[in-house]
Symmetry: C2
Subunit: 444 residues, 2 copies
Amino acid sequence: MTIVEACGGCMVITEACDGRMVIYAVTIYSIREVHMANNIIVGQSGGPTAVINSSLAGVFETAKELGADKVYGMRHGIHGFLEKNIVDMEEKIRTDLDLELLKRTPSAFLGSCRYKLPEIEGNEDVYNKIFDILKEYEITAFFYIGGNDSMDTIKKLTDYSVKINSPIRFMGVPKTIDNDLAVTDHTPGFGSAAKYIASATKELIRDGLVYDFKQVTVIEIMGRNAGWLTGAAALAKCEDCEGADLIYLPELPFHVDDFLARVGKLLETKKNVVVAVSEGIKTPDDKYVFELTDHTEYVDSFGHKQLSGTAKYLADLVSEKYGCKSRAIELSTLQRCAGHLTSRVDITEAYQVGGSAVKAAFDGDTGKMVILKRVSSEPYICTTDLYDVHMIANIEKKVPLEWITEDGTNVSQQLVNYIKPLIQAELTPIMIKGQPRHIVIDMV
Amino acid sequence: MTIVEACGGCMVITEACDGRMVIYAVTIYSIREVHMANNIIVGQSGGPTAVINSSLAGVFETAKELGADKVYGMRHGIHGFLEKNIVDMEEKIRTDLDLELLKRTPSAFLGSCRYKLPEIEGNEDVYNKIFDILKEYEITAFFYIGGNDSMDTIKKLTDYSVKINSPIRFMGVPKTIDNDLAVTDHTPGFGSAAKYIASATKELIRDGLVYDFKQVTVIEIMGRNAGWLTGAAALAKCEDCEGADLIYLPELPFHVDDFLARVGKLLETKKNVVVAVSEGIKTPDDKYVFELTDHTEYVDSFGHKQLSGTAKYLADLVSEKYGCKSRAIELSTLQRCAGHLTSRVDITEAYQVGGSAVKAAFDGDTGKMVILKRVSSEPYICTTDLYDVHMIANIEKKVPLEWITEDGTNVSQQLVNYIKPLIQAELTPIMIKGQPRHIVIDMV
């Protein structure tokens, strides 16, 4: 957009967005040409996923295609933004190969943060600072790729922009392996994590089958409050795999004694018993299972406890009670950063939600998150849409209780059918010298 | 080989191996044709690997090509063999697709065992039983795919065969992710585990880089006495990855205080500190590090302690001392059964050692293990050879101390150069509905 700004004379000639010239009569003192930049900025926040950079690629490429001047990236989300830790994306992504590598590089390219913006009231200085920086960089649209907490950032920035009557648009791009964002059918990042969990569970079951003695494997899976990821373990059951025997989601209270009794019953007829548990399962008196044992507590800046040790605790209990071998396996961080095993459906949708957010902002939308709308499961068809971020931020979407079996020890076919399309097909990493190649911001 | 056996008359007509007829004069009572079968049997033992079934495919296919009548498989190694838990491989591997799936299926197809044969002296009944079963199935050659303990089985069976003057040949096929077999340059299974460890370490380093705060990640890697696998973490260091900061092998004593001091020093200048440790590191007074904490002890039938908890213990120490976030990540079972990320070099060599063992046995060799001989590292050229199993069984090959840096906190370039060729290229699994497809013996 070019504005011929004339001051001190008698007219202003403005080229509006649609290309028409708008002329206002004013007093002209001098004429100078001012280029009002159409710059955008994008950030990533919260826990990494294997495909969060595909959304970044979608934002970057679409913004350039739609005529953005500069595409800025904020390092370490809004936290880095406040320190003006800002990069020019074109200096970091220079070629089509870079862009392709970006799509296939796990974990946030720009870095992430767990910084939560304070309430607007009483903290206007923080918001003024943000809008000052936005003005300095001539930003017209702000994109934030993240989960629940990140959508809270978009909500607050939108609210403040309304308050100060700023034309800057704020758009949320969904991302979380936890799949716990409201309204959207699912979240980019979940499909690849689910694919990793299903495949790893399958491989662990195969590994456990080799010995001719009784053995119990307890697999601990991420998802502190929502059991979507743990439910993905159910996909290991297929033509060539008997699947996990018990699956415990955090949506229902976990009864240690009942668990032990069921494992004992299974051991009567099976050699290789495999149990998948969410890291967030709690006893009926609302205690995390991992809190039943010794543990070191670490609480992050969102107040989230770091969970770990659930599987170990349960596996030890099994060994003590039944005298058999047990294994505790935490899929841990690998389930969110395994770029070597991603879902092509997921990586494609991650790109699409990034691109759709840019398109919507350029069409004038603000205060919204891009959502995925499933048109059909078989054949799988999914489109994007927009939704008010106020209806999404800070809400956790859990697995519906009717998608968990009545006894609370497995998931229903509905959940399997829901997840299945999301893990389909692969986008293999670009392998260099035997290892997946990544693009790294500090090494560009 | 067909023998026309004539009893009760005056001659025996024998067709020798080379096709010539040999006639002996004897008293003939009756003439009947006896088909002396050339059957072989193969078993798998010890811990699974991602490529152990490629060796099984090599044995099976080569034996059939060289004219074996039946190829039998023993379920759960020598333990299952003693219970005549024996299958006809042709009933389980029926098509070329089955064979291809077998090569790409991790974890022992036939099942495994950790049963160690007793000493011959005083236990002749066990050996007589084994040879009775071999006779019953008309076995001419016996192949055992495994590591140190499995080569002990081949050694003892060979010794007994010499003692009773049995013509049955016994051949060892090397397999172990631990890479601790003597004489052979390396062992099939190691390359794929090393590739998984290097790639996972690289992904974990990337994951840890996203936050703008200090964090220490301790990765626990298999290999109780030999540090080959832990050393593979060094390969994460490449053009696009800074690599692990500290690598501790079990070949040298581990000093907890020195470790903490070094981590503290690193935290002064780095945000993301990554440490790789072997599960088997011990303090100078010969205590496993995991024994410094509470742990549940499980000892397998070879008397091996199940190790786990080293990384957790060290990560907790770091958090306590420096007040920063720490993560303990056990690569655990996945490093040995990740069929979704194998080295093509490894899977090819696994096949070759299986085939070479059969060829050698058919040429009359016995009491030997196939070894890999590295002709050159650059370009990588490797051939197979044979070696007396007595010189291999029960010997553990450790990482040479000169391949560890003097301060004991990393490995030298020599070790990296040694491992690098073994992780090259991929053989992706056959993906069905978004997951790796396996062939499973009980489902055929």
